[in-house]
Symmetry: C2
């Protein structure tokens, strides 16, 4: 099943989107918003699925042409957005570039931070920032959405709580990170609003590419229409999604609609490219002693997408210009 939220009102209007992303139909009579659907997933699911089948068969009443640009994030605002850093090879690389040892516990115990979830940027709206000097970067990732998760759940129990998948651009302000990390309280200003793909999909939509709690397909990022990276999201993912969910739920329950991200997708095989500029710059530092690729500038464009084996977009595209912002 593929779901999206038209950019209307604070929480969007729930629609179903056809598998090929060409058609859509309202689902707001079944659940007004995606949050409402997740709050009542077991009772909503059958009716949503029935309409989704009709839509794919060209038989849904009121179907209309789907336009990704009309979408907000599937959850325009959410009660919980926690981002892991599951591709530990990326963390290892970052440490190596600054000559720091990575604690071996990082291979056993996931890194996770809590991000701002009250004001996501729509998937095809601009990233507005006041200052280019903050070091604006993309982070192309995959995220899952859960239903209600009890506190203390195990990873194997957590798998059933993964209801939807999306792509993420976890926008990061690299030059604000060192100052915030030095304070010891983690990221806050360095992690402004994130964006998610126009469409969220149930795991079954990925078929054989969803296995062992990972998505086994390349995550494709472009910067200014140039291919930037296409690392395989199923390769070198140290912690799978059920493990990340269990980590998040160790000391508290997770409410329905909790979003958990994978962290920057990254492969040891560097020929696949990267999912963030910071990684590319680290590789440049290791190779040449200094970074030559700049962070994003006003006017740059970022596009993040994932394709099935037939080359069809699964989630639609995060496609965003970076723009100057003025508070006045």
């Amino acid at each position: 099943m593929k779901l999206a939220s038209l950019n209307r009102g604070r929480d969007g209007e729930l629609i179903l989107v056809s598998r090929d992303l060409t058609q859509a139909v309202s689902a707001s009579d079944l659940a007004p918003t995606l949050q409402a659907a997740l709050d009542n997933w077991e009772s909503c699911k059958a009716a949503l699925e029935a309409r989704y089948q009709e839509l794919n068969q060209g038989q849904a009443q009121g179907a209309f042409a789907f336009n990704q640009a009309d979408c907000h994030s599937p959850l325009p605002r959410a009660y919980h957005w926690a981002d892991g850093s599951a591709y530990v090879n990326h963390v290892e690389l970052v440490r190596k570039a600054r000559n720091a040892e990575m604690p071996s516990s990082f291979w056993e115990d996931p890194l996770m931070y809590q991000g701002g979830s009250d004001a996501f940027i729509p998937p095809q709206a601009p990233i507005q920032m006041a200052d280019e000097a903050w070091g604006i970067d993309l982070e192309a990732e995959i995220a899952i959405i859960t239903d209600d998760v009890p506190m203390g759940i195990t990873a194997s129990q957590a798998a059933d709580h993964i209801k939807l998948l999306m792509l993420v651009n976890d926008v990061s302000l690299r030059n604000l990170i060192p100052g915030e990390l030095a304070k010891g309280f983690g990221f806050y200003q360095a992690k402004p609003s994130s964006s998610f793909s126009p469409v969220a999909v149930t795991p079954d939509e990925l078929g054989e590419h969803w296995k062992e709690g990972k998505v086994h397909l390349p995550l494709v990022s472009h910067i200014n229409d140039q291919l930037f990276g296409r690392p395989d999201a199923g390769t070198d993912m140290t912690f799978n999604f059920p493990t990340l969910v269990a980590h998040a739920a160790k000391t508290r329950p997770l409410g329905s609609g909790t979003i958990i991200g994978s962290g920057t997708v990254s492969n040891y095989d560097r020929s696949a490219g990267s999912s963030c500029l910071a990684e590319k710059r680290m590789l440049e530092i290791l190779e040449k002693g200094e970074a030559s690729t700049p962070f994003l500038k006003f006017g740059d464009r970022v596009r993040i997408e994932m394709f099935d084996t037939e080359g069809k977009s699964i989630f639609g595209a995060i496609d965003q210009a970076v723009e100057a912002y003025s508070a006045d």
Copy 2:
């Protein structure tokens, strides 16, 4: 105006509470939930205020006896809960106890972390934890709730966006903090679900005690019916609430219903007692070389409240037992 949420459904049912906390009346016809009221604050406010006046005059139709135990947190779940650490003398003390220098920038640049907001504990429900050895602690604090705050706002502009105030118990797991801080990503498992006072109040309810963006009254904490601390929340607060809001909004807008906490209320005058056990233990370490006060144990009770100059409770009480939790 005083508002609360009856513990019904995921988002509660909005009620108005009389100034003396004895009577209440439904407001769900004006806004079904407090989040809905905050989403439409300017259009809701006049009708809510009119009914609040009727309630205080004993003229509200359908008024009923108010019972704090029937309440959830004013926002049972929220889109954004960020906690500052505005009483810098407390941070300084913690550093001193472990012989670490506090960077002088801490006096200029607020510490802030983002907390879990999808599953708050009701104000008079138990704090359930799987393991006493995690070092369960209270943190008695004050928090504000904003309406929509534009990105990049100044502190002086931020003051008008503070719509409501509450008390907080920012439950903390002290023995999980060192491990998480060492990872560099900030708190996550160490900060389980928080609780808020039964009642949220508009700033005007505090009269002369709300000035310069601070609450000038003692915050009173009891542990097992023994007075634990009553530091004045207006004293030694290095960053006032508008400054904390501006800090939070530096690189992103804040959605309506954003909760910003003060951090543990703490006075240089240690005779006022503390607002968390960690502080008391630090003082013991500095005085006697070791901490003698244990963290909370299963069966302990915590009570957090604030009184006006006539001794009347303003927000109702956070009053919670600590209990063992089992995931099975």
